[in-house]
């Protein structure tokens, strides 16, 4: 069963957009959608979480799940408003989401509600801004270190 | 069965000094004589041998690993250890904030002293011994425990958790391995009927089948396990790989000497080699006939009876062989985990030690 079919059958009102490549679901339904993928489509691994900044008003979080046999990647997308990007966390069910979501939080500033450990992971905690946002302004100095040539 | 020629050098020196001053030799002269001989041995023999040991280890490690080893300072890199020594001397002696200054400064001296004091009772050759103690073997084993005190001091005073952990491992390890080491050393002592290293050596005078490890063939059943036991427990007591847990580099960065630098570090570094050497020497004395050659030329009535040069040669050959084998083992084996070190000690070595001790006692009775 393809993810599009499975999700349309299980939670028709949560699906916003569906194609062979990906299914876009409502942000607040992502936990249930991931569960459907696990139960119906055999997604055993949350392979990667990516955040994409879509200015001026959107932000996307893209989940790539992996099915082992036959090997395939199943893609879920959620769109959230750029002004208040909040997505429910998957970290309680998929341990790999823990660090993946933290990285998205760190580099794009998407908040994952209910995350057990919602802090920056790669950048220092006192870093300002989220580098992968398209309007990111490079810092002039950091702790006395000149950052601009 | 001490021969006239093998009167310890220190006594000869004491007598000579007394004669020079026209006095009767008394305890004061003996003390001075022992001190002089000990210092001379330490300076002329042990330090170069220790430095040579470092060189040998590095060179051999290099060759075993398909590398060259030190080859830049002096011919074949022979002066490398000396250069390292000079470098260590020239380095800043760093005393971190937060260390227990007195213990921190004092610890290296204890370790250094304990490791080198063992050489006092080693019979290098007939008559060449600083002090022929009646309890030489016991004294030697006691010194190993003394070294632990210095290391605990270093680990505790460094105010560094890795150092502390290293020191704790050292205590656990060395105190445990004293038991099998002692048991193994008791087998030759039992056979020879003495704790004096000279007496044990001379008990093995004669051709190779007089050596305790295969004395008359049948002794081997007790002595071969005892020798392997002494060797293994010796590795552990000297903190050599695979028992180098107190300074396990990949786990504890550098263990108890993490915070030491300069010559203070050198004073931890050199004793390791001194310990290896003295343990190899004691092993060769206990099991391989000490300064006696395999043909029996140095035995009473032999061609080289009492010749100290000949004795020294054989002593060093045997010791060096054991020393080199320790190096070869270090660069071959991975490191044991701390609980396995304890397992090995209490469940493997200790039963073997007890077994060989009982066997030795039985053999002694039968004979």
């Amino acid at each position: 069963m393809t993810p599009a079919e499975a999700l349309r059958a299980a939670m028709p009102d949560a699906v916003e957009e569906a194609s062979d490549a990906f299914v876009r679901v409502k942000a607040e339904k992502i936990v249930e959608a991931a569960r459907v993928l696990r139960e119906k489509c055999g997604a055993e691994m949350l392979h990667q979480i990516s955040g994409v900044d879509r200015p001026p008003d959107k932000m996307e979080v893209v989940y790539h799940f992996a099915r082992l046999k036959p090997a395939e990647f199943l893609c879920l997308k959620v769109s959230v408003p750029r002004s208040n990007p909040v997505v429910p966390t998957l970290a309680h069910e998929w341990a790999s989401a823990n660090w993946g979501e933290r990285e998205t939080l760190d580099l794009l500033g998407v908040t994952f509600s209910g995350h057990p450990h919602p802090y920056r992971i790669l950048l220092p905690e006192d870093w300002e801004g989220h580098p992968l946002r398209k309007d990111y302004a490079y810092p002039v100095e950091y702790h006395g270190v000149d950052c601009v040539e | 069965m001490i021969l006239a020629e093998t009167t310890p050098l220190s006594h000869q020196l004491a007598a000579w000094l007394a004669g020079l001053l026209g006095m009767q030799p008394n305890w004061l002269f003996s003390a001075v004589g022992a001190l002089v001989v000990a210092t001379v041995i330490l300076l002329l023999v042990v330090t170069p041998v220790g430095l040579g040991g470092v060189y040998l280890e590095r060179k051999l490690a290099g060759r075993m690993q398909n590398r060259r080893g030190p080859n830049r300072v002096g011919p074949y890199g022979l002066l490398q250890s000396l250069a390292d020594g000079v470098k260590l001397l020239a380095k800043e002696d760093i005393l971190q904030r937060g260390v227990d200054s007195m213990l921190f400064r004092f610890a290296p001296y204890i370790v250094f002293m304990a490791a080198f004091a063992g050489f006092v009772v080693l019979p290098f050759a007939p008559g060449v011994i600083a002090a022929d103690l009646d309890v030489g073997l016991f004294y030697f084993l006691a010194l190993i425990a003394l070294e632990t005190v210095g290391i605990v001091m270093a680990g505790w005073s460094s105010n560094n958790k890795w150092s502390l952990l290293g020191a704790m491992r050292e205590v656990a390890q060395v105190v445990s391995y004293e038991l099998p080491l002692g048991l193994a050393a008791m087998c030759p002592a039992l056979a020879a009927g003495s704790l004096s290293l000279v007496a044990i050596t001379d008990y093995q005078a004669g051709p190779v089948w007089n050596w305790l490890i295969f004395r008359h063939g049948y002794w081997a059943i007790a002595m071969v396990p005892a020798f392997l036991l002494f060797y293994t427990a010796g590795l552990a007591a000297a903190k050599r790989a695979p028992f180098d847990l107190p300074e396990a580099e990949s786990e504890l960065t550098a263990g108890f000497h993490t915070e030491y630098s300069g010559m203070r570090f050198g004073m931890f570094f050199l004793p390791e080699y001194a310990m290896m050497l003295s343990l190899s020497a004691v092993a060769s004395v206990l099991f391989l006939g000490g300064y006696h050659d395999p043909l029996g030329l140095s035995a009473p009535g032999g061609a080289f009876e009492g010749a100290w040069g000949w004795g020294l040669l054989w002593f060093f050959l045997k010791t060096t062989f054991l020393f080199l084998s320790q190096i070869a083992l270090r660069w071959t084996l991975p490191r044991i985990r701390i609980d396995q070190v304890m397992y090995l000690c209490y469940k493997v070595l200790l039963p073997i030690g007890m077994g060989s001790l009982v066997l030795s006692a039985l053999l002694r009775l039968i004979r």
């Binding site: 490549a21 055993e44 691994m45 949350l46 392979h47 990667q48 990516s50 994409v52 900044d53 893209v62 790539h64 992996a66 082992l68 046999k69 036959p70 090997a71 395939e72 990647f73 893609c75 998929w94 341990a95 790999s96 660090w99 993946g100 580099l107 057990p116 450990h117 920056r120 992971i121 790669l122 950048l123 220092p124 580098p131 992968l132 990111y136 | 490690a61 075993m64 690993q65 398909n66 958790k161 952990l165 704790m168 790989a241 695979p242 180098d244 396990a248 580099e249 990949s250 786990e251 504890l252 960065t253 071959t332 084996l333 991975p334 490191r335 044991i336 985990r337 701390i338 609980d339 396995q340």
Partner: protein, 392 residues
């Protein structure tokens, strides 16, 4: 939320072991790294221990973070490529392939068959080199110095082989969109086969000296077992997942770059000693994968087709048309993937790189509970991380 020395600890599912407390003891907090001999770079692990027993640990990454993704977004397509090398500097060619494959898929660029084969040959050499390094490094962590240097000897020869083709020893900048930069000579092919023979001849030496050594077995067998479920939950890939008994190898499962043309096996744990998913199996897994890689190299050289090594349509100022793709490939440390989005501009709109080490090391916190410090080193060494790719 427990914190130690200002570091917030991540709560995992496996609780810290309860220890009998008949004497009053205190817990110790250790900072392992960023400067530590066996954290393989600048990883910092904060440990809470009871003596030698680790109660809790928290890996803190990010010391080598350069925001590779931002760099890729701000440079043109061709300028971005040398940066990807710097992610996993021990398997740099596989990193290049990870990015290039997904861009090619999104832009539907055709790659000549010869270029695909060359990619396979060089990436497999790179994989062998990387696994040799990992296995040797693991031995070093276990206190065995010598096998490490023996493995380095073969690695050195492999680096020379790569150098002759690509011009770099560690960072190659060889794979381009639509092909590769340079062709190989017949002489190089002969040398390559000779090198394969040399590595194969030394495998017994490594195994006898390290893998089947009694002490090494005792240190690693049954230690830090990462089972199938844990590995999948944490999205651990590569040798870790395969040693845990999951036959997932993207070269077999989702063949890319003509891997379907070659005959090779996917070794899966448990191997001849130990339990499935323990440290020993992860180490053995790497050594077995080296042998399979050597097979692939030999076949690819024998079958190397004639033709171009690059697609002439991809010029210097080439831009990918609008589109997106997610392609994963098998790097030495696990699955490298790139979620690539193009808006038709001069630079990628988004190139999200998946570092396998990033997900692999996230296991550490949960797996380390209840281990001895020596076992923790075994766990870290057998996971085999590269911080450059973990932090990106």
């Amino acid at each position: 939320m427990t914190t130690i020395q200002g570091v917030r600890l991540d709560e995992g599912e496996r609780a810290a072991p309860a220890l009998p407390r008949d004497i009053l003891t205190e817990e110790l907090v250790f900072n392992m790294g960023p400067q530590h001999p066996s954290t393989h770079g600048v990883l910092r692990v904060v440990l809470r221990t009871d003596g030698e027993v680790v109660l809790d640990s928290q890996p803190l990454i990010g010391n080598l973070h350069r925001c590779c993704e931002k760099i890729l977004e701000s440079l043109t397509y061709i300028q971005g490529l040398p940066y990807v090398d710097r992610m996993d500097y021990l398997g740099a060619l596989n990193m290049e392939l990870g990015l290039v494959l997904s861009v090619e898929k999104a832009a539907a660029v055709e790659v000549p068959k010869r270029a695909q084969y060359l990619r396979v040959i060089l990436c497999e050499i790179n994989r062998v080199i990387s696994h040799l390094f990992a296995a040797g490094q693991f031995g070093l962590d276990m206190g065995a110095f010598t096998p490490f240097l023996y493995m380095f000897r073969e690695r050195e020869e492999g680096l020379t082989l790569l150098n002759e083709v690509t011009g770099g020893r560690l960072l190659y900048h060889y794979i381009r969109y639509g092909g590769v930069t340079r062709d190989v000579s017949d002489d190089w092919k002969r040398k390559c086969i000779a090198w394969c023979d040399q590595v194969a001849a030394h495998m017994d030496e490594y195994n006898n000296l390290l893998t089947y050594n009694h002490i090494f077995l005792n240190r690693t067998v049954g230690v830090a077992i990462i089972d199938r479920e844990t590995a999948l939950r944490y999205a651990a890939t590569g040798p870790i997942l395969r040693a845990a008994g999951v036959p997932r190898d993207l070269r077999k499962d989702m063949p890319y770059s003509s891997y379907e043309d070659f005959d090779f096996k996917v070794p899966v744990g448990p191997h001849d000693k130990g339990v499935v998913g323990d440290s020993w199996n992860r180490h053995r897994q790497r050594l077995l994968e080296i042998e399979e890689s050597l097979k692939i190299i030999r076949q690819a050289i024998a079958k190397l087709p004639a033709g171009d090594v690059a697609n002439p349509k991809v010029t210097r100022g080439w831009k990918a048309p609008e589109g997106e793709a997610y392609v994963a490939s098998e790097a030495p440390r696990g699955e490298i993937s790139c979620y690539f989005i193009s808006d038709g501009g001069k630079a990628p709109y988004r190139a999200r790189m998946r570092g396998p080490s990033f997900y692999n090391i996230s296991l550490l916190s949960e797996m380390s509970r209840g281990l001895l410090i020596g076992d923790l080193i075994a766990l870290m060494g057998s996971i085999d991380i590269t911080l450059g790719e973990c932090d990106r």
